[in-house]
Symmetry: C2
Subunit: 406 residues, 2 copies
Amino acid sequence: MRMKSITQITGGTITSPQGFQAGAVYAGIKKDDTKLDLGILYSDIPAEAAGVFTTSNIRAAAVTLCQERLKKKNKVSALVVNSGCANAYTGSQGMKDCEEVASLAGEARGVPPNEVLVASTGVTGQLLPMSLIREGIKKINISPDGGRTLARAIMTTDTVPKEAAVYVKNSDGDYIIGGIAKGSGMIHPNMATMFCFLTTDAKVNGEFLKTALKKAVDISFNMISVDGDTSPSDTVVILANGMAGGNVISAGSAESRKFQKALNEICINLAKSLARDGEGATKLVEVTVNGAKGTGQARIAAREVIGSTLIKTAVHGGDPNWGRIIMALGQSGIDVELEKIDLSIGNVDILERGKPLPFNEASVVRALEQKDVPIYINLNMGRGLATAWGCDLSEEYVGINSEYMT
Amino acid sequence: MRMKSITQITGGTITSPQGFQAGAVYAGIKKDDTKLDLGILYSDIPAEAAGVFTTSNIRAAAVTLCQERLKKKNKVSALVVNSGCANAYTGSQGMKDCEEVASLAGEARGVPPNEVLVASTGVTGQLLPMSLIREGIKKINISPDGGRTLARAIMTTDTVPKEAAVYVKNSDGDYIIGGIAKGSGMIHPNMATMFCFLTTDAKVNGEFLKTALKKAVDISFNMISVDGDTSPSDTVVILANGMAGGNVISAGSAESRKFQKALNEICINLAKSLARDGEGATKLVEVTVNGAKGTGQARIAAREVIGSTLIKTAVHGGDPNWGRIIMALGQSGIDVELEKIDLSIGNVDILERGKPLPFNEASVVRALEQKDVPIYINLNMGRGLATAWGCDLSEEYVGINSEYMT
């Protein structure tokens, strides 16, 4: 029997790959002292690193710090992350504090400060409580089993920690990719920035790591939407410490294609768990657009459908309102002709070449009541294919977001 | 004492200008027989006409018909409009029905069918109930006092009819511009398409009428947002029958500038009443962005802020969460530097050159509790200025939209 070459590891997390440790404490940044709010990820040896960050023109201090350090091709030994305060819109003092946080973590772990990355999520417009962080950072104990603890420490409105890992059989030595993520709105500037931190013990060329991460993010985190807003702090970072041994994985090889495939899989897995746990969400919606004129158009259309408030509310209420999907395709600006569109919701075919098929309304209502709602659209205009994920919009979302600060 | 040259007419409506009549009936298209769902606007003499329509790539039959007739520079004598069924996504049969509706209205009013425009709003994906319309259209009685009746006949989820008129003192004969509008979501493909129908007895050159309407729509209806969705049926139409007499108003004259100003005023007035009556809305939010690098960037920024779900919910809950406004500016993609931004909410100054001012939280909460919530932003980057209008997002919005069809 031949084993699958990429396997999900049950209970896998960010410390599943060799040579990574993590830990976290409650430092007092969050109000609720039953939670964790300050954590460290540590690699036993300096790792190759790559990052993808928010597209916002106004970025939080930690994003600026990470971008500068990664640009200099620094190896990375640690990542320090806090929740409860995003240290965003805080000017030069915020930047100084961020640098101090990196130094403190470097000191605590005995690595040079410029080998440390920082990530912060929480309320914007407020400075970090530095005295609490100075105390807290010393108390963090790290261990090879600390992944779950770190996953909990980055949660804000998330209702569950998000973790995953895959085992990859490789001609030249097997390896693992692990990761954790948080973010319960697509992005919430005040509380639910999107973070994903990934690790691997694969030996990966730095340049290839960068392009592979960008590709994986494009088809995963860039294809989910909870509320369409973009945080100043969104961060995806991967560390590759090479401890699995073997030859360096570089672009263009069979090994690099397998690495890309595994990285895509774990990113999509984590992205879906973010969408499923969207604020107030009760369902995961998966929109696949096929037959577009090119991948670009398919991506735009899939995101337009997943992002429509009217579709989100219809899915929430189990309302078989297919006109709203056509509306979203029409407004997306891509090439589309009503007379060519095939549409199905769950396993119910709704439109064939733009014509409503006789369908049982109750069966659509039933499809919309499932935990997973797949919507499949074929535009029959070309070969472009893309999938996007989101969730329904509930009364609870409004409740969460209208009372956050007060 | 000098009279103001443009005056709002109390109780003014679409039949306030000379030579316009309107009327409506319940034809049975809507389920609720206490409502009106079929109406006609009629000009005593053929009028110059111009229109602005949905940007969606998939349009309803009525939009296609209007666009074709206006392209041929037809004069227009009547507009027939129904609510309850949008006749959208209905293919060639939908187009045939739409043409028949125009012919029936022309017959009823004794004008050539190609001088009739059509507008339909309501559920998508369903054909018009033609037998009911054939019967209903004969029963419509029009009168010079029928404006309010027509305003009611175009309502869907609107809670109040929207009407306005202005009186314009002109060197060469005074005139009136009147109008009605509907749309309680920015655009709701199934029930709340945006319509605005305008009339004037001014004698206006056809080409100028077209450009003037486009300009007025750009700073009014194109600057409101309830939920960011675009209907296949959005329609703004103006008829100018010239019955006020005087010389023809053409581009470049003092009279044309005054006409533009009056048209802007009535369009902004009606646009604001749409935003105020947004589905589930309890407040009108007005966002002014000043100091942008050009008007284009100011428009983008103002619409990004008004369109943010997070800001809508914060305003709804009276949450003084200014970070969300900075977040929206950052994600808008325009040129912006945190260190230059001034921000105030209501009469409370929040940021000066990017730095939080000491403000009383209670006073911001109070400002957010008002029926009108003005948000003023100066980017201090240039001279671009724009204003956008929207509303808060409430639990009720979700309720309305998750249960529409079922």
